[in-house]
Symmetry: C3
Subunit: 358 residues, 3 copies
């Protein structure tokens, strides 16, 4: 399969500079591409590679194109965002190459008679769809996926193997949920019901029922083995186009604003609200009941214990250094008050000896 | 379904003040409840809402009730712990409303002939129960649950979809284990068997067989995708009424004391003992082979590398601050020894110039 | 089942001192072993237990054996590494005792006609093997395992329940992959395609297709619910004999060098290279696009944000201390620049008053 540059810009936008009838069939990096391949320039520092590339055509911004010394006999697609353009074209080539999966319900699947499954959906081996669930058009549920009663899966969504979505949740259109993710498990809430202290303490933790759901907007991607708890009373909410990596925990009644990205191993405790367009780094921990403004960036491994109400970048992590050096500083750090007291004493001593002229 | 206040106190305790024949059918917050709803006052700062609520009845402590200006024509259930009482009543309403699942083994399940499954148990689609396993009364195993050979699941337990419990483990009564949790995977133990150094090193890691099991007491809840490893020789032990959140890792041969709660993303390395009534915050890391006393609290994101033998609250986490500010302090922190040396030099200089009068 | 010491050394090496025809049938610690049991001395500080043990034979190093006062009438197997020897013998006893599982494909499994499954493999209940996958000799796929199209599972590997290996991956020989692990999920990569700022921002994240795979060498063990993402263009690579604990995240295009061990809850961001024989502690976070040399040790809970190009031990974690003490130091830490300024002022004051004699 190959497409003319004209066909590509008709579908994805941009403008051809060069021969619109030139055909390309795949993508490759600038320094490896051949005449039947499309390459892209996302970073101006590789501009010299564009001069020498054998690529059949190059995705490039108008600005970078204007800097090129020689472009005669070469082909370009001019677009303001070559990297995103590359991603879209690459996805289209992959979709064309992928084996087609026939719609229908695998004979080993268990689909309740009251569930609605679109005829275009692909329901894989050993999938369970409970009563009243609604599976949209072109949805793909891979092997062993579980969809609880009354849960809705939006059109075009793809749930990879072993994903479990509990009852009463809503997944938006075009969701991608990777293997082993769990959506709608109970939030972590218990009322203490103890009397007495120490060894004499008796009683127990009483489970707070979790009767909210999880509501996920369109175009959300959720990583492998990530967990998103259902709300206690109201829903946990993930807004549109949020992207969540693997092994992330999101507590009950959180709200994650649109376009926010959350990297792997992050954990967000219950009832926290994160704004739109935030970037939460890997292994970040965020306390419960706090609010992050739009456009907040929290760098990897940092911990957030209070609300961050202004856009900006926040940090509380140290980079690893030589172990012995670290231990020396860490010991002083634990005794900073003593250093401070020595400074105070020095200040007093110096002041006492300073005559009145100051 | 609705119940008189008298019916409620007969089941859950407490004392009616007002009309015992008043009926309520659901629960709601004080500021939203109507005459057929039960509300609760857990925090005295909302006492004024009790004055104005439309709730059919309010759960309240005797102390708070005594502070109310007007209570004529109002209904109360007086209990020392309105929040726990609320949780219990809410659970009962939910249980009544939940669709009844008929006991029995789903035809797609694979249950070994030598396994014992109580007639009252619900065995869902694609469940696997291996040889010699014992599934207690009223147990519910959801879709794709795996129960290994010889493992026992206590009466009244509920294992959500895709839970895997390896062979030779015991789960106590009334356990709730959320989707994707893994109980009884091999502990992480390898004997180094290498010779030579640097590039010349040869050999391998030799796996230490893990032949202990996991023993879990009654009334334990385990979160989604949490992992609890089996012991190397003896069992890993989780005592009664321990509550564990999502994505928690518990290493081989740990013992977690009764009533302890562990928040999401925490990790506890092997052979560590945690006391009773402890609270382990989110994303806390605890080293192997250490001991935490009863009533230890470790705040979120902290790391524990040594035993904590006294009750109390322990911390080693910083809250995220402005990135540039953090970096400035972090650079100084890495050079604390230089600051300390400057203080020393000053002390020497000041002492040298101080006459004998001091 | 019992074996003579001669039979054992014939299989596992070492040398018998004492009676080669003595038989042992299981293993036990020195202080609990009886005449039919094999014990081991790995740590010289327990040498006195060897003097008094009732064990039928003791695994011991030549050096430790030479320190024994009396060894008449006792049996030993002399080996340079008694602990590794113990592990190997223990595994052999366990393998003998384990119930034999007949090879074959469980009737509830779904195996594509174009997949190749060795006759000696055990394919459990509800397993899915997609088109073109290759399942090697003596492989064991437990309940609900998913193997995507074209993926190869090496001879002798054991995948525990609910493991998902996406399409186009290669698992080496003798892999052990614990329940719920996910291999080959999409790497976390999105091209920003936004215009405008603040509330006026429009656009979306465009998914970067992830068309690399995961290539895993021989003798690798992977813990429960661990996730390893597929590469964007090239493969994510896990070299031979790497051992990975539970709930670890490994990003796309990482390369983990041979014999490296990674403890639970660690997270490694994309395109990072870790050398051979490294030890990554629990809950360590490592940034993307960095390189760790061979023989690097990162202690638990530390964060790595830059390359560590020299072997050695690196740290950035604090141990938890009393909460109030910590908060006092943490407040000073956030104001280290003020302490530094006070030191500067003192230095200036002291210098100003110091006569020219210095």
């Amino acid at each position: 399969m190959a497409f003319t540059l004209e066909e590509i810009v008709r579908r994805f936008g941009g403008e051809v500079v060069g021969d619109p009838s030139h055909r390309v069939g795949s993508l490759a990096p600038l320094d490896q591409a051949g005449p039947l391949q499309l390459a892209f320039l996302a970073n101006p520092k590789y501009l010299s590679q564009v001069e020498t590339t054998q690529a059949g055509a190059v995705l490039i911004s108008a600005d970078d194109l204007s800097k090129l010394a020689a472009r005669d006999g070469r082909n370009f697609i001019v677009t303001p965002n070559p990297y995103a353009y590359f991603a879209r074209v690459a996805q289209a080539f992959i979709d064309l190459a992928a084996p087609k999966v026939a719609p229908g319900v695998h004979p080993s699947a268990t689909v309740d008679a009251s569930a609605q499954v679109a005829a275009s959906a692909v329901i894989g081996p050993n999938v369970t769809v409970e009563a009243g669930a609604v599976i949209g058009e072109n949805v793909r549920l891979d092997a062993n996926v579980f969809v609880g009663r009354g849960t809705r899966i939006g059109d075009g969504s793809h749930l990879y193997p072993n994903v479990a979505v509990y009852h009463g949740c809503r997944i938006g259109e075009r969701a991608i949920i990777h293997a082993g993710a769990v959506i709608g498990s109970d939030g972590f809430g218990f009322a203490p019901d103890f009397t007495g202290d120490g060894d004499a303490r008796t009683g127990s933790w009483v489970k707070i029922p979790q009767v909210g759901g999880v509501a996920i907007g369109p175009d959300v991607e959720i990583g492998a083995n990530t967990t998103i708890d259902r709300g206690a009373m109201a829903d946990t909410v993930i807004e549109e186009c949020v992207k969540i990596d693997n092994l992330v925990q999101i507590g009950h009644n959180c709200r994650i604003g649109a376009y926010t990205v959350i990297a792997g191993c992050a954990g967000i405790a219950g009832s926290t609200t994160i704004g739109r367009h935030c970037m939460i780094g890997g292994a970040v921990g965020i306390a419960g009941h706090v609010t992050l403004a739009d456009y907040v960036i929290v760098t990897a491994k940092s911990g957030v214990s209070k609300s961050l109400l202004k856009p900006g970048m926040y940090t509380s992590a140290f980079p690893a250094v030589d172990h012995a050096d670290w231990n020396r500083s860490a010991a002083l750090m634990r005794n900073l008050d003593k250093l401070r007291d020595r400074i105070k004493a020095l200040e007093a001593a110096v002041a006492a000896k300073t005559p009145d002229e100051t």
